[in-house]
Structures are given as structure tokens and as C-alpha cells.
């Protein structure tokens, strides 16, 4: 979420404090429509690939849209899997927009041909985000699969040609693409698009690739400096752990899980945030009586996340107010305590804690929906070197 402004006057309690106790409805709702995907990105946070036979039907999806309209959820961030692979994707998009729930959807571009782009250009309240993870085919395809860069570029061309206006180009920052930030910006500028860069979380298949893909401490510093000079680059407020490096980055510097953020997955399960697809953070299911509104308002898990959180091991750190302890999902899937430092803590506290965690002790993200055959063919990130280092420390 990026709030353009918080209108004065200053109330007694700051807005950030208000957000901690939760809102009447989410501001930033992610809704993954399907686990089906034509790609098998090594860092897919929902471990997508195969459609789940239990996925919500068209009618059930429309009922969720009705609920979101009543709750005044102004827009939903639609993802997957690859959402456009659902045969009813375009119908759901039209239905949602007609019911005052704007759609921002993420796609790898597979269905975004000239005709689809023209259709999107004619629809109000729709934002499109094309995902790439490299400014060159070489860097991108190593993570997202052969041919995925060319496919994304074709989709961008189609949107630009159709006069869609400002679409988004969305990048997950990794060790291998962080040096390409300027090139990503140029790519976006050339299309009249907006660049969006977000943080890599060790969720889904990234549980296995995070060690090798997440930016180094020096790269994080560089990223912070780069972002600080570019307020026009969107971040989904995902780098708030870097705010401990200096002046806070724009946006909400706070873990929004269950407070202003949540996720509906393809089978209707509601999770506290898009990065914690794990039974421990499952708040309920939209198919239960009372639907999504009841889960949001009454789930024990979400109510607990809205209570004041203890700073734990970070309590004595002078920078806690800046980073708020970082990302819950990043801590959880790297096996760190939730009330301690983020694995990418800029002071290095996380790294020291990580050294104490045995890799097999990390929580597993669950079976996921990876394609079995593709799983074997996919690049294998086995951090043997790191295991050795860890065992030695």
C-alpha cells in the first residue's frame, strides 16, 4: 500500500499506532485466484504450478467480491499462480470492477496479447503489473524460466501499444538483479510505466532459494540509497526493515499482517499476509459461515496479530522504532523467533541468529503446488556451502 497522504491534523495517537490495532477491513488485500502457472519461478512465494481441484468456483469468487464491496475494500491485488490462466479471469475482472472493487493484477504476460491489452485499456479501475526479475533475459530466465523474459517484454509492448497508460513493472530484488536497478528504471521509463520493486521473502519455493538469492548486506545498503533518491519507485512498503539505515523510506513502516493486509488463497483459505502460506498463519476460509468478513473480524489469529507486540530481543535496540523488527514471514521461514531481529537486520543481528538455526529446523512451507516434473528440472539451490559454514559457527 502506498498512501499518498495522511491528512492533518495530528491526532493524539499516530496513524501507524492506529494501524497496529487493525482496520475495519484490509487496505491491501491480495487474492490469489489459482495455483496454476505456466512458469515455475524458483522464488514463487505460493509454490504455484498445478491448479488445485478445490479452487473457488466462479460463483464463489463473485460472492467474495460482493463481500469485499460491502466492506468497502476499494481494490484487490490479484495474483496466483498466473491468474489469467483461469478461464473466468476476464469475467471476474469485469464483475469486480462493476462492483466497485478495483483490480490490480500481477501477470507474467502469458495471456497478455494485443487483444487483451486493448480490452484492458478500455477498462477503468484496472492496474496491470508485469513481473520480471532481470533487466536481461539471462538474469531473468535463470529465476523465472527460459523464454519468460521475452514473454514479459511482449506483454509490455502490447500494453504500451494499446495506450493502456501507466502499467507497473514489478521486480523482486535479488542478489543477481540488484545491480540492474537503473536498467529496470530505464525499461519502465521507456514504456511510460511505473517501476515497482519488492523484497524477496523466504516463502513457498523461495524457502529453498532464499539463501542464494537474497541481497547481501552491502547490496541492501545500496538498495536503500537507490530507493531513497527515487520516491517515484513503488515498493509495496516492503523494505521497511531498511529504514534503520537512515531516514525512513516512504510509506507504512510496519508489518501489516492481519492489521491492514491479508491474503485469500485459491482454495479460499485466508492467511495473515501473502508471504505466510503456512497452517500456523491460516485465519480461516471464505467458505465458512460469515465468509471473509467474519474471518477478518473474528479470527483468533488476526485478533492476536492486532495486539501490541513485544519487541523481544530487539527491545534494547535503538533502531527498533525505525524497522519495527522487520518482516514476520522472513523470520518465520528462516526459523528465527518472531519477536527477534529480521534475518536481514541491517545491524547484522539476524545473520548472527541465522547461524544458530539448523537448516532442517526451519518451518517448511507445506507441499505447495509445484509441478512434479518441473520440480526435477528446475535449478537446484542446495546451499551446501552455507551449511558447512553454519555447522562451523
Amino acid at each position: 500500500m502506498r498512501a499518498d497522504q495522511a491528512a492533518m491534523p495530528q491526532p493524539a495517537v499516530t496513524l501507524t499506532e492506529q494501524f497496529k490495532s487493525g482496520l475495519a477491513a484490509p487496505i491491501c488485500l491480495t487474492w490469489e485466484l489459482t495455483y496454476a502457472c505456466n512458469l515455475q519461478c524458483v522464488h514463487c512465494l505460493s509454490a504455484s504450478g498445478r491448479r488445485d481441484p478445490r479452487e473457488l468456483t466462479t460463483q464463489e469468487c463473485m460472492r467474495v467480491v460482493d463481500e469485499l464491496e460491502r466492506m468497502q475494500v476499494f481494490y484487490a491485488n490479484i495474483g496466483g499462480g498466473e491468474p489469467t490462466l483461469r478461464p473466468d479471469f476476464w469475467d471476474l475482472l469485469d464483475y469486480s470492477v462493476a462492483h466497485h472493487v478495483g483490480i490490480k493484477f500481477s501477470t507474467n504476460g502469458v495471456r497478455l496479447d494485443r487483444r487483451a491489452a486493448q480490452r484492458l485499456a478500455r477498462t477503468d479501475y484496472v492496474d496491470v503489473q508485469i513481473s520480471v526479475d532481470g533487466a536481461t533475459a539471462e538474469v531473468n530466465d535463470a529465476v523465472r524460466g527460459a523464454g519468460s523474459f521475452a514473454m514479459a517484454r511482449q506483454a509490455m509492448e502490447a500494453l504500451a501499444e494499446a495506450g493502456f497508460g501507466e502499467f507497473k513493472i514489478s521486480i523482486v530484488v535479488t542478489r543477481h538483479n540488484v545491480s540492474q536497478l537503473d536498467r529496470f528504471k530505464q525499461m519502465a521509463d521507456a514504456y511510460g510505466a511505473r517501476l515497482r520493486v519488492t523484497r524477496l521473502r523466504p516463502s513457498g519455493r523461495a524457502a529453498d532459494s532464499w539463501d542464494d538469492l537474497h541481497p547481501t548486506a552491502a547490496q541492501q545498503r545500496m538498495l536503500y540509497d537507490w530507493l531513497s533518491g527515487r520516491p517515484d519507485v513503488l515498493t509495496g512498503d516492503s523494505f521497511f526493515h531498511l529504514s534503520a539505515l537512515g531516514a525512513p523510506l516512504p510509506g507504512l513502516n510496519l508489518c501489516g499482517a492481519g492489521r491492514v493486509v491479508c491474503l485469500i488463497d485459491p482454495v479460499g483459505d485466508v492467511y495473515a499476509c501473502p508471504f505466510v502460506l503456512h497452517e500456523e498463519f491460516r485465519a480461516g476460509n471464505v467458505r465458512e459461515p460469515g465468509g471473509f468478513p467474519r474471518v477478518w473480524r473474528e479470527s483468533e489469529l488476526l485478533l492476536r496479530l492486532r495486539e501490541p507486540a513485544a519487541a523481544g530481543a530487539c527491545a534494547s535496540c535503538g533502531l527498533f522504532d525505525a524497522c519495527q523488527g522487520g518482516c514476520m514471514a522472513a523470520k518465520f521461514f528462516t526459523g528465527l523467533p518472531l519477536d527477534g531481529p529480521d534475518p536481514e537486520c541491517v545491524l547484522g543481528h539476524g545473520e548472527r541468529e541465522l547461524a544458530k538455526v539448523c537448516l532442517p529446523d526451519r518451518p517448511r512451507p507445506g507441499p505447495g503446488h509445484s509441478r512434479r516434473e518441473a520440480g526435477r528440472a528446475a535449478p537446484v539451490f542446495v546451499p551446501l556451502g552455507q551449511m558447512t559454514v553454519r555447522a562451523a559457527t
Partner: protein, 88 residues
């Protein structure tokens, strides 16, 4: 156009208020910007704009104390900037 306390305003038809414990969220479906009304009294002011001849009169009707008028005027100016409210 600069905000003028002595002009009449209204909530932009493309903007919608969502009540929250602290005040309200405002979403502008046209420019897709999200704003926060950080106090309930500011929500009252924004709702009263439509039925008053001037923004100043809406501030009076909402009972905004004199010492807070400048900050409320600044809030309204920011809302006019982001097209949440517009002159009528």
C-alpha cells in the same frame, strides 16, 4: 487551483469514505489515491462541506476549535490537492 476557505466545496463524486476507528479512509476511484482522514472531526467536516456555503462555515458547524482551524484548513487543502474534495 489554491484552496480557499471561503469557497464552497464537496466530496468529489469519485471519492468514497470508509469509516475507521481513527476517522476514515478515502479512496478516489478516478486517480486511485488513498488518503486518510486522521480524526473523526475531520470526517464530520468533510461530510458537512456539501451543505455549507463555505469550508469555513463547515468548520464552524463541526465545532472545530479556533486554535485548530489552521491545521484543519491545511488538511482540507491537502484533500483538495488530491481531488478528494473539489470546489462547487
Amino acid at each position: 487551483m489554491a484552496f480557499d476557505l471561503h469557497r464552497a466545496y464537496r466530496l468529489n463524486p469519485a471519492a468514497t469514505l470508509r469509516p475507521e476507528p481513527f476517522g476514515a479512509l478515502v479512496y478516489h476511484f478516478g486517480n486511485r489515491r488513498l488518503s486518510f482522514l486522521k480524526t473523526r472531526q475531520l470526517v464530520t467536516v468533510v461530510r458537512l462541506l456539501e451543505s455549507h456555503d463555505s469550508a469555513a462555515s463547515a468548520l464552524d458547524a463541526a465545532g472545530v476549535p479556533v486554535q485548530q482551524r489552521a491545521s484543519y484548513a491545511a488538511a482540507l487543502a491537502a484533500l483538495a490537492d488530491s481531488e478528494v474534495i473539489d470546489a462547487r
